[in-house]
């Protein structure tokens, strides 16, 4: 029993990262950024990320959902059922005000880090 507790708590983060192929924080950032333009359903988010990264970031689509639920639990996105463009039922995710703020923070820190890394790569 003791071991199960351990694997649940310490193992969860590992699982998320290995399955998605992107760093966990980064996936959150990408989702938030995609949702900034318009509310979207799960596969739409996956398509958008793939499309905008010129297929370079191919995420395991499944790992999207735990991330979405997590963002929702933190109040950064909300969700509601609606009808998709091809007339199917779909759950749409929408950025909240808190999510918008979070996105700014995350984006700023990402910019800083990537600029720093780029600087190192270019000049070192």
């Amino acid at each position: 029993m003791g071991r199960r507790v351990t694997s649940n708590v310490e193992g969860r983060a590992l699982q998320d990262e290995s399955a998605s192929g992107v760093l966990q924080g980064t996936l959150d950032l990408l989702i938030l950024r995609v949702l900034k333009r318009e509310p979207l359903h799960g596969w739409g988010i996956a398509d958008r990320i793939k499309q905008h990264s010129q297929q370079a970031l191919s995420i395991g689509e499944g790992s999207l959902y735990p991330a979405l639920y997590r963002l929702e639990a933190r109040g950064w996105v909300t969700s509601e059922w609606g009808t998709s463009e091809n007339n199917r039922r779909a759950k749409y995710y929408r950025l909240t005000a808190a999510g918008r703020k979070r996105l700014e923070v995350e984006q700023a820190s990402w910019d800083r880090i990537s600029a720093a890394i780029a600087g190192v790569l270019r000049h070192a």
């Binding site: 029993m1 003791g2 071991r3 507790v5 351990t6 649940n8 708590v9 310490e10 969860r12 699982q15 998320d16 399955a19 799960g42 596969w43 395991g60 689509e61 499944g62 790992s63 959902y65 735990p66 639920y69 997590r70 639990a73 998709s84 091809n86 199917r88 039922r89 779909a90 759950k91």
Partner: protein, 818 residues
Amino acid sequence: MAEEIRLHLEQRIGEFIAQGLTPEQARAAAHRQFGPVEPVKEACRDVQRSAPWLESVWQDLRYGVRSLARDRAFTIAAVLTLTLGVGLVTTFFTICNAILLKPWPLPETDTLVTASRGVSPAAYRYLRERATAVDLVAIADICGSSIDDDPVRSSFRCVSGNYFDVLGVPLLHGRGFRPEEDILGGPVPVAVISYGLWRDRFTLSPDAIGRTITLNQVPFQIVGIAAPGATDKPDKRLPRLWVPLAAYTLVMSDHREFLVDPRRCCVGLAGRLRAPRSQPVATAQVTALYRQFRGNPAERPIAITGTSGILQPWEKSGVALISLMATSLFLVLLVACANTGNLQLARGARRRNEFLVRLSLGASRHRLVSQLLTECLPLAAAAAVLSLGFATVLTALLARWLMEGRPDDLGVDLSPDWRAALFTVSIVGVAVLATELGPALRGTRRLVPIGRPNQAPLRARSWFLIVQVGLSAVLIAGASLLGRALLHAASIDPGFDATGVARVTVMLPSGAATESRLQTLRDGLREALIAAEPSLVAEEGRVESRSKVSVSTAPATVVARQVSPNYHALLRVPLRAGRLLRKDDTASEVVVNEAFAREAWPGRSALGQSFDFDGARVVVGVVGDMQPTRPGARVPPTFFERGGGRSLFIRNEAAVLARARAVLATLDRAAQVRFSALSEDYEVGLADRRIGVALAWSLGLVALAMSAAGIFGVFALVAEERRREVGIRLALGAGARAIVRMMLSHAGRAMGVGMLAGFVAALLAAPLLRGYLVGVGPHDPIAFAVAALVLAGAAAAATFVPIRRALRVDPAVTLRAE
């Protein structure tokens, strides 16, 4: 969520089919792109199940319950120990709560007030008529009256006419008093009876209203029946009967001046504020009015306060006792905590390997500590519930015992309320946290590698042991001292021989009872008895206590007793010097007791000495000290002068008793006579102290039993841990003595230190008990020796089994087992 994922997959399959794949290929591709479905669902559920910490708390709780159920011995021991410790403290709190904290059991307690002191009935009427901030009621308990022909004397409550209306004392049937039934000089004989009296006397029959009940032979008409438990202020007993204050003169015809004389004391004051929270206004107004009434602007103020959290006058004397009790109970609780702490340590040591494995697998220490603490919640919950139950049962038993089997008549509400529940929960919480946090932090330290014996818990264990043994030593030493004082009190000579001496009380039906008529009867009885049996009758008159007597080296306070000449002979008080009083002695010739002689004329003969007490007195004799009522208490300096007329004492012989009855019958048909053994007074004095000593010993023994269990646990653990070492030593030829020494070297030292520290603390604290130790010094060597013996005996008993188990270790078996 499953729906959402299914829709996602269907969408993808549709896309792939549109790209020209077969349905099977499309399904496979969609799943490949999505990844494994079930873990995703699981991960989503984890997030969804609300906040992760709540999830882990829930998990820990379930885990805690399971592991406690598995560790049954530990669980039972810990819960019982905590229940005992906390339950005792909660019982005490419940009683204090009922007496001190709960507001009076009346409606609308926010306007209910009481006054800091009582006033004379005359002053009460003055205040009631003039006070505008508060409606005042008067309450006076009058003792020693007989209801109907009940031989047991009970008290009744005289209350002002507005009492029931203003306070709202709940009634079951009928009505309360009307203001016009309480008019000075126009007493109306009406009464409200208590539920208890209704039950006992009228078997709950509803036609009791309108019937009469007699109070000291005076008939009163019953107008109301109070609800069960109805009273105003909490008191030991519920009131049995209420009558209007003005009716006091009907019952106590001797004391008519009580209602009118402004110097008479007292009726208690209570009341209701006309505006909420206006206590300061009411205090100022009532004080001003009272000063006006007394014509003294410096008169002490009368504080008008709420009824919660105040000390009743009858509780003030108990404050020292209450704090002593609280301290002892707190010590018992500490012992219980130390015991639980030790149990937790032992359990932690057993689970050490589990934690080390988890730590090395990457569990955070924070996570483990919070898990351990959460695991204790079920333990704490069980202990809290049981403690409350234990305290409820114990208070009920106490009430039954205190009320001699009639707990319904108890005047305080001992039922547990939210205060008691809050108290219990916080005490249990603090106790569990205090005892578990240390072992939890210790048990989850990363530094100690697996397999190496962990020294730290041993040291902590020793500390817990020292605390336990030390506190038990304090409690046992205190109990031992009190026991010694009781034995001393019971064994000392009271200075007289009370066996066979009875106090004679002459009674009259109270309507007819006037002091002069009683005096006539007493005089007649005495004359007749003295004429018949002069040597068997003695009497006592006025007893007066006064300070400042003009003797060269004056005792601080002297007591003057008027006695008949054969008083000392009858009570067999020994004559030390000179002679006893004679019939023809005048007021100037007195006999003093030894205490008087010793204090006034130390080292000299008292005979022939003189002093001034309402005139010059000459000492003609010295008698031994006698202590008639308070066993073991100091005998005050006393002198005896000729007199009598109040109490009559006789040798309790059948012939004398019969003659007394016969004489009285010829004097007055209505008169009754009662004989009460003089030794009863003395026995009552001893009984109260026996209860105190029994209580002290029970607390001490409870603590000792817990400590013994703790010692046993520690030694058993040491024996278990060192089984292998013992085996090797035995195999190498060590004798039993060496093994015992090895076992004792650890916990034995802690035990010794604990005992020593406990006795030092007890020696330092013993002077606090001085008020209860008569005839025994606070550092009485015998008392301490007894305590040491008891402790050593308990320690020996607790260590015997584990040590024997260690000695029985078979080296061959033990060594092969590894």
